[in-house]
């Protein structure tokens, strides 16, 4: 019935879909009111935009270097949309630097739509959504230069980042910005934790859109995510017990082959 090795993957996806459906149903019927714990990094975003407004200096947004097959980019675009709405509301300049040419037109549209939804279409500046190069050194040098030139007040970095993350964080710090950095790229999490004022670690970036919008439908999907974590944690505990008893091969083969 299933393709080789796809059975368990399918069951996991099916579990997630059912969990999302169930959580949505309970939310729509008003049977449950879910809440996401406080995430200081996300609260700091509006505070940072307020700071930029008071200082009359721009907000910088970097969506990371992922392409469309990277979920981190999708999560980042949802946050960007919310950030753009707030900057539109406050009449604060927002500069978005896109590292991949393929992503550029969509990011531009996301920002434009956010301004339109706030009734500020005329305040949208297409030239503030920038693409420099698909290569780190062209992109990163341009961004660092722009941070100093524009005297950025707030720097928000959410998405996939490579070694260049620390460079942006340090450059923005030197330019006097407060910073929110978030990534699920485990390589760069330590740099964000060390160099940014607020850091979003791993899955927090996927919860960001739900947290910022407080949309009950999105929050319900985060609840389903927690249920999936319980399932995976159960599997981990089972694996540890079986491995300790020297009988893990069966489970390993089942998960890999079936």
């Amino acid at each position: 019935m299933f393709a080789d090795g796809m059975g368990v993957d399918f069951l996991l996806i099916a579990f997630l879909m059912v969990a999302v459906g169930y959580a949505l149903e309970r939310t729509k019927k008003g049977l449950a009111k879910w809440q996401i714990r406080k995430i200081p990094g996300l609260d700091a975003i509006e505070e940072g935009i307020g700071r930029a407004t008071e200082m009359d200096r721009p907000v910088f947004y970097l969506p990371g270097s992922g392409g469309f097959s990277d979920p981190q980019l999708l999560a980042s675009m949802a946050v960007l949309s919310e950030v753009a709405k707030v900057t539109a509301r406050y009449d604060t300049r927002l500069i978005v630097c896109v590292p991949m040419s393929s992503v550029y037109p969509v990011i531009e549209e996301v920002v434009r739509q956010a301004y339109v939804s706030e009734g500020k279409a005329e305040r949208f500046r297409a030239e503030d959504v920038r693409w420099f190069s698909d290569h780190y050194f062209g992109y990163a040098i341009a961004i660092i230069g722009l941070m100093f030139k524009e005297k950025v007040a707030t720097n928000i970095m959410i998405g996939t980042f490579a070694f260049d993350a620390l460079m942006y964080a340090e450059a923005a710090n030197q330019a006097g910005a407060i910073q929110v950095g978030g990534t699920a790229a485990t390589t760069q999490i330590p740099f964000f934790v060390a160099a940014c004022d607020y850091a979003l670690i791993g899955e927090e970036i996927y919860a960001a859109a739900a947290y910022l919008t407080k949309d009950p439908v999105r929050v319900a999907t985060i609840v389903a995510e927690d249920w999936a974590k319980f399932l995976v944690t159960g599997l981990v505990v089972l694996g540890v017990l079986l491995q300790t008893a020297g009988k893990a091969d069966g489970l390993r083969n089942f998960l890999n082959q079936w």
């Binding site: 999560a75 549209e109 996301v110 956010a114 050194f137 070694f163 439908v217 999105r218």
Partner: protein
């Protein structure tokens, strides 16, 4: 229409791929979609080129800031593009230009990271709390254990580093990887179901 069509396209293509891949159905269709994916990757490179050309051509036309550099950029871009297409990536001239510009520039740029690390080391790595102090001490042990001098100073640094990397680091990384992977699944499902529509300003 502008909002519905992308959602329908996303939903139908995701559903097709999911069903075909999980149940090993219509391999020819999957192969065809795979080819489209690769081809679309090549096409979007052209979008970047069009954007770059438009921005700099406009700058030249308006005699904007550093317009003369826009000329240089466009000349280099198109000259190298034509050379690559005509002569191929292994042509000695093409390879020489690449080896003597992109390679050293790339390596130099990566090396610049060390300066930022030095600056961050002084500014950011502070033991402000107990947790930060634990992180800092672990970081210093790993720094010493990862360079030969660490074991010259004290042979135990190598063993301590191995423990931190194999046990503490691996445990934390696994937790982050589990959480992030499930989070990415949920993000994909949100896009699949149209709850998140990043292509139309996040569900607007």
């Amino acid at each position: 229409m502008k909002k519905t069509l992308p959602f329908i396209l996303t939903f139908v293509s995701a559903l097709t791929i999911t069903v075909c891949v999980f149940f090993d159905l219509a391999p020819a269709l999957v192969e065809e979609i795979d080819k489209w994916f690769i081809l679309s990757g090549a096409v979007v490179c052209c979008i970047g080129l069009v954007n770059l050309t438009t921005v700099h051509a406009r700058n030249i036309k308006r005699r904007g800031r550093d317009w003369d550099l826009s000329y240089v950029l466009l000349f280099i871009t198109f000259a190298y593009l034509v050379l690559g297409i005509v002569a191929g990536p292994t042509h000695p001239l093409y390879a020489w230009i690449f080896d003597s510009t992109a390679v050293p520039l790339g390596a130099t740029f990566y090396s610049v990271l060390s300066f930022y690390i030095v600056s961050a080391a002084y500014r950011a790595f502070r033991a402000k709390t107990r947790d930060a102090a634990i992180l800092l001490v672990s970081g210093i042990i790993v720094l010493l254990g990862n360079a030969p001098i660490g074991e010259v100073i004290y042979p135990g640094f190598g063993t301590a580093t191995k423990w931190i990397m194999d046990i503490a680091n691996t445990a934390a990384m696994r937790a982050v990887i589990f959480g992030a992977t499930i989070g990415s699944f949920i993000t994909a499902i949100r896009v699949f179901l149209g709850i998140d529509r990043p292509y139309t300003a996040a569900g607007e």
